[in-house]
């Protein structure tokens, strides 16, 4: 019963956000602020995540396939395809669930418990349009961008790791990466990042927007936003893979 109530509240909030998404003037300034916070400010951490994902994948694939009777280019294929189809979207999604989700939930939760949202409402502002819509839009728009960053730096990190460790020459790596490159995988990863952006921001907004109980409530909202964001990301990843592959 509790879960159904939560789902209903969540859907209602989404509906309100969707309906008020036409009020562009209300959230225009906030939108760009959020785009910078979600996208621009997240680029360094995503670059870091990408490089490490790719290089670790390469080193470990090379280690595991060391004695197998396979060409080195297979390592490039494995790493680049894994990154494009799964890791770039999911790992950056998990990282951003912490970074973006926690921030959004804390901001909205604090505004809720300090009655700033009520103040906005009483001044005649549409609080959903003003607070929720720009954050969700920023997530939807910026996550695919971050996916590109993660992919590029992931594959770059893989090439670099293969080169510096001497296990896979860059030419072999790229040969394998190109040979098994399917555009659909990129589209799929793109779609994933889009969905993850939506999930992280909406869950965080929901948890923050309906936070109650002072500082403790804000803390709970933040924790839940992060944890539930991660869980829903993994769930959505599974559902997308089952449906689309």
């Amino acid at each position: 019963m509790y879960a159904l109530k939560e789902l209903g509240k969540y859907t209602t909030l989404l509906y309100q956000a969707l309906r008020s998404s036409t009020e562009f003037g209300t959230y225009r300034k906030n939108l760009f602020h959020e785009l910078v916070k979600v996208g621009y400010d997240s680029v360094p951490i995503i670059i870091l995540v990408g490089i490490f994902t790719g290089s670790v994948m390469t080193l470990q694939s090379a280690y595991q396939l060391e004695f197998a009777f396979i060409p080195l280019s297979t390592i490039g294929a494995i790493v680049s395809e894994s990154i494009l189809i799964e890791l770039a979207a999911v790992i950056s999604g998990l990282v951003l669930a912490g970074k973006v989700g926690a921030r959004v939930a804390t901001e909205l939760g604090t505004m809720r418990v300090s009655e700033q949202i009520d103040a906005l409402e009483s001044m005649g502002f549409n609080s959903v349009s003003f607070l929720v819509v720009p954050r969700v839009l920023a997530g939807i728009l910026m996550f695919p961008v971050l996916y590109i960053v993660a992919s590029v730096f992931g594959i770059g990190g893989g090439v670099a790791a293969g080169y510096f460790s001497g296990s896979v020459p860059p030419a072999d790596f790229l040969k394998g990466a190109r040979m098994f490159f399917y555009p659909w995988n990129v589209v799929f990863g793109f779609l994933k990042s889009f969905v993850f952006g939506f999930i992280i921001t909406t869950v965080a907004c929901y948890k923050g927007y309906y936070a109650k109980g002072g500082a403790e409530g804000v803390g709970r909202a933040t924790t839940e936003a992060t944890v539930m964001g991660c869980i829903y990301i993994l769930l959505a990843d599974f559902i997308l893979a089952a449906l689309l592959l």
């Binding site: 760009f32 996208g39 621009y40 695919p144 590109i148 190109r178 490159f181």
Partner: protein, 309 residues
């Protein structure tokens, strides 16, 4: 300069889009900044080829497979994107093959010799080359029994070998190996020690051989002359032999005649009368001499000493 939020967002999105497009073209093996060439070829089948499979000319990667379509004649039309400055002559052949046992399939273009070159979108001849693994796969069933038999026999052999090689035998074998190794070591030592002598021996041997060679070359005319003389002599001997033969036969004839009692000697040899005459003559002479001895006056009566002396 403090960037406004809009500018920051714009920069991020623009860079991401550019990187995405460049990266996508890079991964699809499309030249990033220019149009590339496209040709196609039709094969009987296209096992192991997929979009992105590589295309080679003389072992150099020049492009990749772009599209694979099954034609109404149930052949496979493969379109390739070629990115090279080298023009491809008409009459070139695209061979669908595998570069190694474990490598995937790829297309190798064997350049023709025509003066005319393939234009954009043109089709060249395609040949599907069966790889070793495929041939093996087809033969696999036939080979299967043989292989399993061979393995069974190998197994038996190994088991027997194992039984034969009990611990004692193993120890002996080990000792033998050790001995062999020691011996080899000693031989090596000896060889090392005698290296110089061996070298000298080989050197002098080779010098001797060369001297012998010169000698043979120098004396050759003389030897030849000698041989010729000998040959001549032999020929003369032959003629002597013939003469001797005829002489012998003549002699034979004479002997035969003698045997038959022809001629003087024949009669001499074969007729006993002469012997008898001689014999009786001898007897009578004996008698005469006896008579003279007994009574010389009888014979000397009419002879005076003066007459005699």
């Amino acid at each position: 300069m403090k960037l406004s939020n809009e500018v920051k967002v714009g920069i991020t999105v623009l860079l991401a889009v550019v990187v995405a497009i460049v990266g996508f073209r890079f991964m699809r093996d499309i030249p990033i900044f220019r149009q590339s060439m496209e040709i196609s070829a039709t094969f009987d089948r296209a096992d192991g080829i997929s979009n992105g499979s590589l295309v080679y000319i003389q072992g150099v990667r020049v492009g990749s497979v772009n599209r694979i379509v099954l034609t109404p004649e149930t052949r496979v039309n493969i379109r390739m994107r070629i990115d090279t400055d080298v023009p491809i002559p008409r009459g070139s052949i695209a061979r669908l093959t595998s570069l190694g046992i474990v490598e995937g399939k790829s297309i190798v273009i064997e350049l023709g010799t025509s003066d005319q070159f393939v234009e954009f979108g043109e089709e060249i001849e395609g040949i599907y080359a069966e790889t070793m693994m495929e041939v093996l796969g087809q033969r696999g069933e036939e080979l299967g029994d043989d292989v399993s038999n061979a393995i069974y026999e190998l197994n038996m052999f190994l088991r027997q070998l194992n039984e034969t090689l009990n611990d004692d035998a193993r120890i002996t074998l080990n000792e033998t190996l050790n001995n062999v190794s020691t011996t080899t070591g000693r031989v090596a030592e000896i060889l090392e020690g005698k290296q110089q002598e061996i070298d000298t021996a080989i050197e002098s041997g080779s010098r001797m051989l060369s001297q012998l060679d010169t000698l043979v070359t120098d004396t050759r005319p003389q030897v030849e002359m000698l041989m010729a003389t000998i040959e001549k002599n032999i020929a003369e001997l032959e003629s002597v032999r013939i003469e001797l033969e005829s002489a012998a036969s003549n002699f034979n004839e004479i002997l035969e005649k003698i045997n038959r009692g022809e001629g003087t000697i024949g009669l001499l040899v074969n007729d006993p009368s002469m012997y008898e005459n001689l014999d009786s003559l001898t007897i009578e002479l004996n008698n005469l001499i006896k008579g003279i001895n007994e009574n010389p006056g009888r014979y000397l009566r009419h002879m005076s000493i003066i007459d005699i002396f």
